[in-house]
């Protein structure tokens, strides 16, 4: 027996072995997983820290803890699952839960760990993050001891305010050339015009005006290269790390916040898939293998609790698991491809079954190569949207209330994708680090139909200013008009402007 697992009581250890066996038999492929049994206040603490037993000190964890402990006191929430993307993975069991709950949690957890291990979005994540987080905690504590709690915490607040300004695609593409190539200062390129062998023809082939124009173009190109950043930089935090006048400890704290943001990002970008996947597997393992007859009622109760929907929200567990099942079903029956798509007989489509049995294979493939955006884009079908009764909603100014807007498939899907793109965050990039040639920072929001929340935007600019230490600007659109928001350290101002 692995010594790490001896801390599980024998009873839970047996359950664990059984569930793990079932999971592996189904083909799930996961890191070794360590389960820890915690009391309710301990589990609330770990949950407040986002699953990590060791985080840097910050009040927002305390706030989360207060919220969670209250929820527990009032009997509103019992945290059922918490699992860390780490190798080995760590997951937590609430001591007071009944065996049937522990089984469910374990099955669910193995689903998550399989997803962490295999999905491409997680490939770049640090699998020793548990230790890394503890290191971060130590570093921040050291700064606090030296500089005072308030000062450091205050700075963390500011960094956190900017934490969503990272490049969510960066881990998967190469955005810029390697450093060494960039650092050389290029010589000024001189216009040479077209080549000619004959000296006397030169002035005719390359008249002075032409050379001048060419020189201008070359200079402009060079200037553009000198511009900081060369291209709009989506990783605003990185830009600040490289260019803002930060003290060493500030630099370190900012890089900690950035590192954690990048680590956590894929979990947000695969929420629907990941929760759906884990739910799919817990329900499969529980109903087909692990449930005792006496446990069925409790299981059904808790399972349906996880999948409950309310009109104003999408439950990622529900949407996810239904989509996975739909994909499996379609590939089992062969309801895909040209022939199926072109069939326009409703009855025929409904009864379509080629008995291919490819479902299981397909979902394992999908869990490897997709994230929420591509998953929804590719597999959310018209039939599915109708079956699941999906709709879009919006705020109605006239009635001062939220209303159902539309059930049209195209719009529902578009809205859903829009909400998931870029992690549901506005796309904001550094446009210029020397705006107006005064060392001001200019950020640009790529407006895609949804306005920013302006009071938040102003507060965020204030925080940005405290890092950049020169005036900061944000260009965005408000109600269809281009606006530039400016904060100079004392006052906010705004004016009409287009990028």
């Amino acid at each position: 027996m692995d010594p790490k697992h001896t801390q599980l009581p024998a009873r839970l250890h047996d359950i664990r072995k059984r569930i793990e066996g079932h999971a592996r038999a189904y083909g799930l492929d996961f890191f070794d997983t360590v389960f820890e049994v915690l009391k309710f206040d301990e589990i609330n603490m770990v949950a407040a820290y986002g699953g990590f037993p060791n985080r840097y000190p910050h009040w927002r964890f305390g706030m989360e803890y207060e919220r969670l402990s209250k929820g527990y006191e009032y009997g509103l929430s019992k945290i059922y699952e918490m699992v860390i993307n780490n190798d080995p993975s760590y997951a937590y069991l609430l001591e007071s839960n009944a065996d049937v709950d522990q089984k469910l949690v374990m099955a669910h957890v193995f689903g998550h760990v399989d997803f962490f291990k295999n999905n491409f979005m997680f490939r770049h994540t640090n699998r020793k993050m548990m230790d890394q987080m503890a290191n971060h905690a130590t570093r921040v504590r050291r700064y606090q001891d030296k500089l005072g709690v308030e000062m450091v915490e205050d700075f963390i607040d500011r960094c956190l305010s900017l934490e969503n300004l990272i490049d969510y695609q960066a881990p998967y593409v190469k955005r810029r050339a390697d450093r060494s190539a960039r650092d050389e200062e290029p010589e000024r390129k001189m216009a040479v015009g077209f080549k000619t062998e004959r000296e006397y023809m030169r002035e005719y082939i390359n008249p002075a005006a032409f050379l001048e124009a060419q020189q201008k173009r070359l200079d402009a190109e060079a200037a553009k290269k000198k511009k900081l950043p060369e291209r709009p930089e989506r990783d605003v935090l990185l830009f600040l790390l490289e260019n803002a006048p930060l003290e060493r400890w500030e630099h370190d704290v900012l890089s900690i916040v950035r590192e954690e943001a990048y680590y956590l990002a894929p979990q947000g970008q695969t929420k629907i898939m990941n929760e759906g996947w884990a739910t799919y597997w817990h329900s499969k393992i529980m109903t087909e293998k692990a449930l005792d007859a006496s446990e069925i009622i409790d299981y059904a109760d808790h399972h349906s609790g996880t999948l409950a929907t309310s009109p104003g929200q999408l439950n990622p567990y529900k949407l996810g698991v239904e989509l996975w099942r739909d994909v499996e079903d379609r590939w089992n029956k062969g309801r895909f491809g040209k022939e199926y798509d072109e069939c326009d007989s409703f009855v025929q489509r409904r009864n379509w079954d080629k008995k291919l049995g490819l479902g299981r294979q397909k979902i394992f493939e999908v869990r490897k190569h997709y994230n929420d955006v591509t998953f929804i884009d590719e597999f959310l079908t018209l039939e599915f949207a109708v079956d699941q009764k999906l709709f879009t909603f919006g705020y109605d100014e006239k009635h001062q209330r939220w209303e159902i807007r539309d059930r049209e498939f195209r719009k529902v899907k578009e809205k859903l994708l829009q909400m998931l793109t870029n992690f549901g965050q506005p796309v904001i990039a550094v446009e210029d680090g020397n705006h107006e040639n005064r060392g001001e920072l200019l950020l640009a929001h790529r407006h895609e139909g949804v306005d920013l929340k302006l009071d938040y935007a102003r507060d965020t600019l204030r925080n940005l200013h405290s890092l950049w230490r020169r005036p900061v600007n944000l260009v965005t659109r408000v109600e269809g008009r281009g606006m530039l928001f400016h904060f100079d350290g004392k006052e906010h101002s705004e004016r009409r402007a287009d990028l």
């Binding site: 407040a48 300004l165 009109p311 999408l314 999906l390 998931l420 929001h445 920013l452």
Partner: protein, 367 residues
């Protein structure tokens, strides 16, 4: 695993305290903002402590949902809590925080720069209490300590060799018996009583009473911080005074005239019969709209106050609530006659905004 979170939690509570302090004026003016919960806690709604981000406005964004309904149907009940669901904004939460009354009093004290109250006659006001402190070989049977007696007998039997482990019967002798003993411990007792008096004649409207209600909440909170056993008594008066319970105090409306002296007489009776100044800190608070029946009665009030009441109390406070009917004369008369006495606090409360300042006047003397 030790709970490291305690430190973060404490930091969070500090921030909450700061928020409450910042908004104290607002809370002081609006009694309803404080939901009282249990005996020692109030629940305070604190505006969310949030870290701002660049993010989408919820109204501008909308979202995708699931369920029944036709386009145009309201989406209710709209739950603001999104807890990280895809794209759904969290909205503006109000965070409800439990704060103990002691903590609240501290915040009030810090923000208003209130001096701590030195309980009067601390040395004189002494009560004794029995405390069981030890064990002795003699005492009344009712205080016999079974376990110690048994142990003693066991020890003796073992020592004398009469203990038989096969048949472990322990028989205590007279000398084995042990009894609890006690000591008399003097405890400085700091008892306090607040006597609220209010004019309920026709000219005091609901708004005026609301002001009194809010003031009394803060006064209670502050005094309770300093006195463990705080009693409150309520007296209402028009032309005659009577003692009532809290509920009646705030909800009675009479139509008669006003004779303030009647209330002072009743208060004086209470003090003399129940709260001798040797062992009680006494706080009479009187609220009215400043109308009194006659100059004669006012003279009688001043006389009662300066000769009988003031020597017997820590602080006499009079709050004059402005009303469209009252003349507001009474406070002027009081100011003239006894305004210079150091245990008198007089305050005019024009509206709810003035509550804050008037609390400071009342409690700022540190008496």
């Amino acid at each position: 695993m030790s709970l490291k979170i305690k430190q973060d939690h404490a930091r969070f509570r500090d921030i909450v305290r700061g928020r409450i302090k910042q908004n104290l004026k607002k809370y002081v003016q609006k009694g309803e903002m404080l939901g009282k919960k249990g005996k020692d806690f109030v629940t305070i709604p604190v505006p969310t402590i949030d870290i701002p981000h660049f993010r989408f406005g919820e109204r501008s964004q909308g979202g995708v949902g699931q369920g029944e309904g036709e386009p145009g149907d309201p989406l209710s009940p709209q739950e603001a809590d999104g807890s990280g669901k895809a794209g759904q904004g969290e909205g503006q939460h109000i965070l409800e925080v439990d704060v103990s009354l002691d903590e609240l009093a501290d915040i009030l004290g810090e923000e208003l720069a209130l001096p701590r109250i030195e309980p009067r006659g601390k040395d004189r006001i002494v009560a004794t209490r029995l405390k069981y402190t030890g064990i002795s070989p003699s005492g009344p049977e009712s205080l016999r300590h079974f376990k110690r007696t048994y142990k003693q007998a066991l020890k003796r039997q073992i020592a004398s060799g009469s203990y038989n482990w096969r048949r472990p019967v322990i028989v205590p002798y007279r000398e084995d018996r042990r009894y609890r003993t006690w000591k008399q411990v003097p405890i400085p007792e700091t008892n306090a009583v607040v006597i609220y008096m209010m004019d309920v004649s026709g000219s005091m409207g609901d708004e005026q009473k609301e002001i009194v209600r809010i003031e009394s909440f803060w006064i209670d909170t502050w005094l309770r911080r300093h006195y463990k056993g705080l009693e409150t008594r309520y007296v209402i008066h028009d032309a005659v005074a009577r003692e009532v319970d809290r509920q009646t105090f705030f909800h009675t409306r009479e139509s008669g005239g006003t004779m303030i002296s009647s209330a002072y007489k009743l208060a004086l009776e209470m003090i003399e019969s129940d709260y001798p100044s040797s062992s009680w800190n006494v706080y009479p608070f009187h609220f009215s709209d400043g109308d009194n029946w006659s100059a004669d009665d006012t003279r009688l009030c001043v006389e009662l106050l300066s000769e009988k009441i003031l020597p017997a109390v820590n602080l006499f406070a009079y709050g004059q609530v402005e009303s469209p009917y009252g003349s507001g004369q009474f406070i002027k008369d009081l100011k003239e006659a006894i305004g210079a006495r150091e245990n008198v606090a007089l305050s005019e409360i024009a509206d709810k905004d003035a509550i804050y300042a008037s609390i400071k006047t009342f409690l700022g003397s540190g008496r």
